[in-house]
């Protein structure tokens, strides 16, 4: 019953989900860095930076991810010759997909971090200054520890959304789970079984992440 699964070797079932995981991890790290920078801009005392951060977030999160991913391929690569240092077409697609995913996900990471900072009551910072702590001490000892704990839940959600969003990379020919499912489902008779296999794969990827990080965020939440 499951023997047809081994007929596919480009990619294999495990290879496809491996690609999904790879996309998730690399894009996750990239968007964490870019999103943190954006969040820093949005909460900075410099109006111009705040404006840029706000504009970026509002523009990017209102564009469908599909549009962004397709644009990296048909726009950046085909018109402007952005190949991300790749000579091989498959590698290029993979890197472009990561570029698109990072650009998109960073907007949500930024909002998650900002909401974490916003949960810290103003009185905390005022009290810190009142006892004579310097700016860096206030940040290091009082605000960031509280903000980090408040940010785990929202960031976990962003990570899970990202895991599911990596499927959009199939639109530019990256051989990940959705790409393989499309191939299988068109050529095989067992549509329900294929659907179940891939659904199960994503449940395995997202559910434990959600449960573990959800539990962690509840455990670490600052009780107010």
């Amino acid at each position: 019953m499951f023997d047809f699964l081994s007929d596919y070797d480009n990619p294999t079932l495990l290879g496809a989900f491996g690609m999904t995981v790879k996309l998730t991890v690399i894009s996750g790290l990239g968007s964490l860095i870019w999103g943190t920078l954006l969040a820093a801009m949005r909460v900075s005392p410099v109006p111009l930076m705040r404006g840029f951060g706000t504009a970026y977030v509002n523009i990017v999160r209102n564009i469908p991810l599909t549009v962004i991913i397709i644009f990296t391929s048909l726009g950046l690569a085909d018109v402007f010759g952005v190949t991300m240092g790749a000579t091989d077409f498959k590698v290029q697609g993979f890197r472009l997909a990561i570029l698109g995913l990072v650009a998109y996900t960073a907007a949500f990471v930024c909002e998650a971090i900002r909401s974490g900072i916003n949960t810290v009551p103003l009185g905390q910072a005022e009290a810190a200054r009142a006892i004579g702590l310097t700016f860096s001490q206030t940040l290091r000892l009082i605000i960031l520890p509280q903000a980090f704990r408040a940010v785990i839940g929202p960031l976990a959600n962003v990570l899970i959304a990202l895991t599911k969003n990596t499927t959009v990379a199939a639109a530019i020919g990256v051989a990940e789970a959705a790409y393989l499912m499309k191939k299988m489902i068109e050529n095989e008779a067992q549509v329900l079984l294929i659907g179940a296999v891939f659904a199960f794969g994503f449940v395995v990827l997202t559910l434990p992440t959600g449960l573990v990080l959800g539990w962690l965020s509840k455990r670490l939440a600052v009780k107010r």
């Binding site: 111009l48 209102n62 469908p64 048909l74 103003l122 959600n157 899970i160 959705a178 499309k182 994503f202």
Partner: protein, 308 residues
């Protein structure tokens, strides 16, 4: 100046901020120039490529029909997903374990699966077991995928909306002798729907964005796929991307602004209990399993929260 992070700037901080502003402006200018230069070099700024968008043909032949399909799919998905979501959301609040558990499983299952897989599956299923024209099949597949996922997200919204109501509401209902079903129907649901409105409008943005998936992966003729035909006709990929992106941004910005306006209005209104689910709370509901405690819209969000 009320920020957790820094005090009102003194003379030195002001000077430093001005310096940072200037440096950042230079960076931005460099970026703009870099993009302009790249566009110029590839001749993407020529008026001939942008001109079609000032004439009616590009709009009437390509963009507007595409936009109409996008909106049609989004509206259909919303209208079908909402009652379904309400059923599942209320089932999850049931006192009976045999109702609560299956509902919870179904909801968590469909929230854990990417919309794209649901669409691909629905497309293939309709192709094999239903007698539909190609166009119908594509629309049905996109709507089915969107409904399965969004009904489950909306189920969580309904649940959170009901839980956000003050406890006194159901206690008062009990006190005057209403049954459980009556309490839900007469007291809780009507108020929860009001509290949920902003969140529901925010979910529309997610739905509109996801329709684009159907265009690329199963050939549904929505805005993004009509962009491809348009670009092929006029030979202007970059310009068409820019215009389509702007259409999406404007459309979704209108929706989000409407959602935050609704939220503000509901918070102010005298009639309601002031329980409102904001777009901020929505973001917690969108991805998969997070285990269940959700904000009531009172905390967390900055004043006028959501998206400014």
């Amino acid at each position: 100046m009320s920020s957790v992070l820094y005090d009102a700037p003194g003379p030195r901080a002001k000077r430093r901020n001005v310096l940072i502003s200037v440096a950042f402006f230079a960076l931005l200018a460099l970026l703009v120039w870099f993009v302009y230069d790249a566009m110029n070099e590839k001749n993407q700024l020529e008026w001939a490529l942008w001109k079609p968008f000032t004439e009616s043909q590009a709009w009437t032949t390509y963009l507007l029909p595409g936009l109409a399909d996008t909106l049609k799919a989004a509206a259909l998905a919303m209208v079908i997903a909402l009652p379904l979501g309400a059923v599942f959301g209320i089932s999850r609040l049931s006192d009976h374990l045999w109702v609560r558990l299956p509902a919870a499983w179904v909801v968590e299952f469909f929230r854990a699966i990417p919309v794209l897989l649901l669409m691909l599956f629905a497309n293939e299923a309709y192709d094999r077991w239903a007698n539909l024209t190609t166009e119908q099949r594509q629309l049905y597949a996109v709507v089915t995928g969107l409904v399965l996922y969004n009904a489950c997200v909306l189920a969580e919204v309904v649940r959170a909306g009901i839980l956000a109501l003050p406890k006194g509401q159901s206690e008062a209902a009990k006190a005057i002798g209403l049954r459980k079903s009556q309490t839900m129907r007469i007291i809780l649901l009507p108020q929860a729907v009001t509290a949920m409105l902003p969140a529901i409008v925010s979910q529309l943005v997610v739905i509109v964005k996801d329709t684009a998936l159907g265009g690329v992966m199963i050939g549904f003729t929505e805005l993004l796929s009509t962009r491809a035909t348009l670009a092929a006709a006029y030979g202007n990929p970059i310009a068409s991307f820019v215009v389509v992106a702007i259409i999406y941004i404007v459309l979704n910005f209108i929706l989000t602004s409407f959602a935050s306006w609704l939220e503000k209005r509901l918070r102010r209104s005298k009639k309601s209990t002031g329980a409102v689910l904001s777009a901020e709370d929505m973001e917690e509901l969108n991805p998969a399993a997070t285990g269940g405690t959700y904000g009531t819209g009172a905390g967390g969000a900055a004043p006028g929260g959501g998206i400014t």
